[in-house]
């Protein structure tokens, strides 16, 4: 595993350079916007990556909460299976199909539900107990980084194209800002709270925060907004060469996000191990024992 990281890092760097070359020199220039439209090759993949990371955070948080009791864990598994089955078949029912926004394919909705179910079980298989919490904090932090890029590159694109940096009241923009704020508050909670309940509270906050992700994603399908329509589906008509470069760029950013998340995951695991070792040492150390004894007494006397 130690050798895999530098190899993957080099491959990812090459992939990012290739995506950069494709975005700047291979993708055709937009007839209306000119070259500034190329910002989407960083803006859109960053948004998709942030959504994916927040989604993984959501699943890890749900599993962390559900695993507190074996009966809850079992119930959660069955609920996820039920959601997966209903979500897979429902989009093909004519009445439900009519409710889907124009350009949204029933097969893509069904596949999304299948992926949600599969991801729940894959994460549950490879991450248990505290590892789920470590995964949650990792994906939230890296997700916030990618979401910050979305919030910075969006206005930089909007200024020359719309003539304004920010469209106040626009639901896509506002809901993305709210999403960022929710996850920043999640990280602040984790950073500054010492309570034994912090992990559970953070998991609950993450579950509610994740509800904003579909709102951000579907806001441009269901509401009138200044933000451009979806680049995939939704009646959007993107040049196939542009779409090709966009997908290359997303793949490159996904590899990068995976590497950064891997590093952050290892860092968090190591931090917890060091904290445990320090607590153990302070218990074994005679000076540590005396201070450990003194602390509860002094607290109790208050």
């Amino acid at each position: 595993m130690k050798r895999a990281f530098p190899i993957l890092a080099v491959l990812t760097a090459l992939f990012l350079v290739y995506a950069f070359y494709q975005a700047l020199w291979v993708a055709p220039t937009d007839a209306l916007q000119g070259d500034v439209y190329r910002i989407i090759y960083y803006h859109v993949p960053s948004a998709w990556t942030a959504f994916l990371l927040f989604f993984i955070n959501f699943i890890a948080s749900v599993e962390y909460l559900a695993n507190s009791k074996p009966s809850t864990a079992r119930a959660a598994r069955w609920i996820v299976i039920a959601i997966g089955i209903v979500g897979f078949f429902a989009p093909f029912v004519p009445q439900v199909r009519q409710q889907l926004p124009t350009g949204m394919y029933p097969s893509s909705v069904a596949t999304t539900f299948l992926i949600i179910t599969a991801l729940y079980f894959v994460i549950g298989k490879y991450f248990v107990d505290q590892d789920l919490d470590v995964l949650a904090v990792t994906t939230a932090e890296v997700g916030v980084v990618f979401c910050s890029i979305v919030l910075v590159t969006g206005p930089i694109w909007a200024r020359p194209v719309w003539g304004i940096w920010w469209a106040p009241g626009d639901i896509r923009l506002t809901s993305t800002l709210v999403l960022w704020l929710i996850y920043v508050s999640y990280l602040v909670l984790r950073r500054f709270s010492d309570s034994a309940q912090t992990q559970k509270l953070a998991a609950v906050l993450a579950v509610f925060g994740a509800l904003d992700v579909p709102l951000v994603y579907f806001s441009i399908w269901f509401f009138r907004t200044q933000h451009p329509q979806p680049v995939i589906g939704g009646g959007g008509s993107m040049d196939p060469r542009m779409l090709h470069v966009l997908l290359i760029s997303w793949m490159a950013f996904l590899c990068f996000a995976f590497l950064v998340s891997w590093s952050r995951y290892r860092l968090e695991k190591l931090r917890r191990e060091v904290e445990e070792a320090e607590a153990l040492e302070s218990l074994l150390d005679p000076a540590g024992v005396s201070s450990a004894v003194k602390t509860p007494l002094s607290r109790g006397s208050k």
Partner: protein, 43 residues
Amino acid sequence: MNSIKFLYAAYIATWLIHGLYIGSLVRRYGRLRQQMKDLGRGK
């Protein structure tokens, strides 16, 4: 409209944010390594 500077600004901002975050990870790793050394020495 000289929009190319906005394109460069967006790309630079992206890598600046990633760079800052990776820098913070490296700093945190360094601090942990120091803590581990102190633990090994028994302070």
